[in-house]
Symmetry: C2
Amino acid sequence: MFERYVVTPDKLFDLNKIDSGFTEDFKSKKDVEEEFHRLRKRLCELQDVLYAEGKRKILIVLQGMDTAGKDGTIKHVFKEVHLQGIKVVSFKKPTEEELSHDFLWRVHKHTPGKGEIAVFNRSHYEDVLVVRVHRLVPEKVWMKRYEHIRNFEKMLFDEGTTILKFYLHISKEEQKKRLLERLNNPRKRWKLHVEDVKERKHWDEYIRAYNDAIFETSTIYAPWFVIPSDKKWFRNYLVAKIIVKKLESLNMKYPEPEKGIENLKID
Amino acid sequence: MFERYVVTPDKLFDLNKIDSGFTEDFKSKKDVEEEFHRLRKRLCELQDVLYAEGKRKILIVLQGMDTAGKDGTIKHVFKEVHLQGIKVVSFKKPTEEELSHDFLWRVHKHTPGKGEIAVFNRSHYEDVLVVRVHRLVPEKVWMKRYEHIRNFEKMLFDEGTTILKFYLHISKEEQKKRLLERLNNPRKRWKLHVEDVKERKHWDEYIRAYNDAIFETSTIYAPWFVIPSDKKWFRNYLVAKIIVKKLESLNMKYPEPEKGIENLKID
């Protein structure tokens, strides 16, 4: 069903050939609005049974260039979900303590427990992206990390974690538009950093790094989805749809009542 | 403004004398609905500037008997808030590792950072409540904890944390109703535990423990509010109102744009 978006393991793959403006047959936000609201409510129901059942762990990874819409996706897709069973973890520039450990150390702490959804805003993938582009560690170090990531995610999967990874794909042109929007809107200007604009000069290197990372780590147990994200409404709709489909496939159930509950006297 | 609900330091105070069914002049949910929605939206705006400003830390503590509505309050009051800047931490039965440390250790880890709201569903207060009622540590140990809590919260305050503590006050009769509701509703039955009903036998002891804890630890810098909670709609309305008022009083501002941003070229 999502064949068009999922990255098939071992199949050649070129991010530059994927249309970031694609919106299926939908012409505008209006066309998906009703379905998007249904998906959002459905996600809320599914999260309720996930939490009640208390067996499965859900890990959602969001990656993308600056302004690709990681924050916006989180805000809109999970709007209806009960705060109690979901945590959003934003991985920023690592601290000294974090850097003194292996690259998976700070991430592992925040993986979801039973009944939980964890949403990673950036993730361990930064250690083969920004780290590579800015040569923060030698190539022979980051090259090995693809395998470490595959092994780590396999372990999480074998221990009961469902993993979905989304690359929010925007064009360089669209990023320009969004940066200008921040620059020209006084209420948004504080969000813009000189560094973001500098990072833009490395666009092609980032695309290459993403391309390799996604190709190397998209697996059956932890697939990558490339989400056309120039249109925010399509991005939100598609991410919600993929998550809902996946959660529905897990056949989760509300637990049986505790033994002896029927004969309980409440005075 | 909230004089009626805030617990004044050093003033004698008796939880048994506070009407848990109180709803001001409001007769039904309808009477507060519009204002509640406005408060919820306002809370969302305030959280946005809190996050953007990145200076202040907000800690909200929720305590109350089983079924008092801690989960429901979280779900409804913070519905509009962007997931990114808020975390809910539920403190359950402590693990062995947690027990091997002092009682504030596990709590301290989860206090909010700059720009963050942390909502504690149960908290360090359990260590002078359930721990006292079930005699899990000797009296001479838990008695000293009131002072430790005051000192800890004073430190958090001095380091930039705004603290609001809510006791969701329900009557024993209302709890009975809510437990029976869980028992009789097949979709809710899994939530009911034999232990919850056993805990009910200790109602008076819990009230005494709450009464002492609230009296001993309501301070200018970390006040307790007793929220009449028999009516869920009034509880949600009042908690939202108190939080909004407090956040408004902080006079938060969006940060100035970074230097040099005006002359930035985006190619």
